[in-house]
């Protein structure tokens, strides 16, 4: 279409109106490991595959799900190092808000600021977009919330969403099983089943990561033992 002639510079529009670098970034996300999130009536659950390149890797040292504030956490699909940079920036923004207002930052505000950072990298010189899409889970005065943030800087609020390799199957599965009044425990089971759908190999507490926020508004990453318990319940 002539798009390829415009794929050299991030800050140049192609004739079809796209920024080709962002399309490529979304492709990088789409080939990343599957991650998903489900918003329940009394909390949010996020989960991801944790496929390590070799059995010699110490899986406890790999943390794909990170907390941003005591009541918010985030998971990603795409490039791990880019994710770490965003987590660092978001944590700093959350703390700056707290230092100024002595109040926890609302979920929408932090998502907006993180998305603004991602957008900056699509309009500056000499940088490339982030190769990650984020799923941000939080619980504040407006209730449980789940947001997806893309490399372009757009963000959407979801009741349930998936990203990465198996996205279309996962989303279809979630669409079938999601109900508006699902409770957190059921949502965790649904999340596990969705991950299992596209999982190659034997699923266990060591090769997936799950985190939840309940009505007590505390973000908690489950331990491998807790995940194994849920896996046993799902069997």
């Amino acid at each position: 279409m002539g798009d390829s002639q415009y794929s050299f510079s991030l800050t140049t529009f192609s004739p079809s109106g796209k920024l080709v670098q962002i399309e490529h970034a979304l492709t990088a996300v789409g080939s990343g490991q599957t991650s998903l999130g489900i918003k329940a009536s009394n909390g949010v659950v996020i989960a991801t595959e944790k496929k390590l390149p070799s059995i010699l890797v110490d899986e406890a040292s790999v943390q794909k799900i990170q907390s941003l504030t005591p009541n918010m956490g985030v998971v990603y699909s795409g490039m791990g190092p880019d994710f770490r940079v965003l987590v660092r920036k978001s944590r700093k923004q959350a703390e700056q808000y707290h230092m100024l207002y002595k109040e926890q930052i609302p979920v929408t505000q932090l998502v907006r600021e993180t998305a603004a950072v991602m957008q900056e990298f699509t309009q500056s010189g000499g940088v490339r977009p982030f190769g990650v899409s984020l799923l941000v889970a939080g619980y504040d005065d407006k209730g449980p919330q789940l947001y997806q943030v893309d490399p372009s800087g757009s963000y959407f609020s979801w009741k349930a969403s998936a990203m990465g390799k198996n996205v279309s199957n996962a989303k279809t599965f979630l669409e079938k099983r999601y109900t508006d009044d699902v409770e957190l425990e059921d949502a965790i089971h649904t999340a596990i089943l969705t991950l299992k759908e596209g999982f190659e190999g034997q699923i266990s507490g060591k090769n997936i990561e799950i985190a939840t926020i309940g009505p007590k508004r505390i973000f908690k990453v489950l331990t491998p033992a807790e995940i194994d318990d849920y896996l046993a319940e799902v069997e």
């Binding site: 230092m99 100024l100 002595k102 109040e103």
Partner: protein, 204 residues
């Protein structure tokens, strides 16, 4: 002569039962000369939050503009009003930004929290917050106000009684201070309404 005493001011806020009142004098002077007798020291941030600024009038005006600016942006971004505690933290941060070249103001912040509980606080000119459960005072008449409020305050006053008590405390105190007076402005705020009154005292 202290820069805080250049314009003259008296500010006080007092807590009642599910309500609060904030009052100020009306004099604006340039040292010994009275320039205006209708000067507004207290302004509304939103229906449940008021701030009064004592001290140097020019700094009070600029600080007021900056605070309104920040609050309006906050309202647009967060689609809600600021809580009084949050606003107090913001005032404290703004004042400390100018730690080594401060605003010569002493703000008094008074508001109703989410659960309709009254919240009052004052800070010094560089942002040290002072929360109180009964009353806070500021301005050149501050010392007199402390005495008058301490004597007249009772916990859990209804709005009408709070109005009487605060008016008496204010008028008595500004009479002992040559740089403040010329009447008073008082706002009584309950969860349902805001009443604004002008007090007539000794016009000197």
């Amino acid at each position: 002569m202290s820069i805080f005493e250049y314009n003259g001011s008296a500010l006080v806020a007092m807590v009642g039962k599910n309500c609060f009142a904030i009052a100020s004098d009306r004099r604006l002077g340039v040292q010994l000369q009275t320039i205006a007798t209708d000067f507004q020291r207290i302004s509304k941030v939103h229906d449940r939050l008021f701030i009064g600024l004592s001290g140097l009038a020019t700094d009070a005006q600029t600080l007021h503009q900056r605070l309104m600016f920040r609050h309006k942006l906050y309202q647009l971004r967060e689609e809600r009003d600021m809580k009084p505690e949050t606003f107090a933290s913001l005032v404290s941060a703004l004042l400390y930004e100018k730690r080594f070249g401060p605003y010569f103001c002493q703000p008094v912040i008074a508001g109703l929290s989410d659960d309709d509980k009254p919240f009052i606080c004052t800070t010094d000119s560089i942002g040290a917050k002072e929360l109180a459960k009964d009353f806070v005072v500021a301005g050149t008449a501050g010392d007199s106000l402390y005495g008058a409020c301490e004597a007249m305050f009772k916990p859990d006053m209804e709005p009408e009684e709070l109005f009487e008590t605060l008016s008496q405390a204010l008028l008595a105190s500004v009479d002992r201070d040559c740089l403040s007076g010329w009447g008073g402005h008082i706002y009584i705020v309950t969860p349902t309404e805001v009443k604004e009154c002008t007090l007539k005292g000794r016009m000197d």
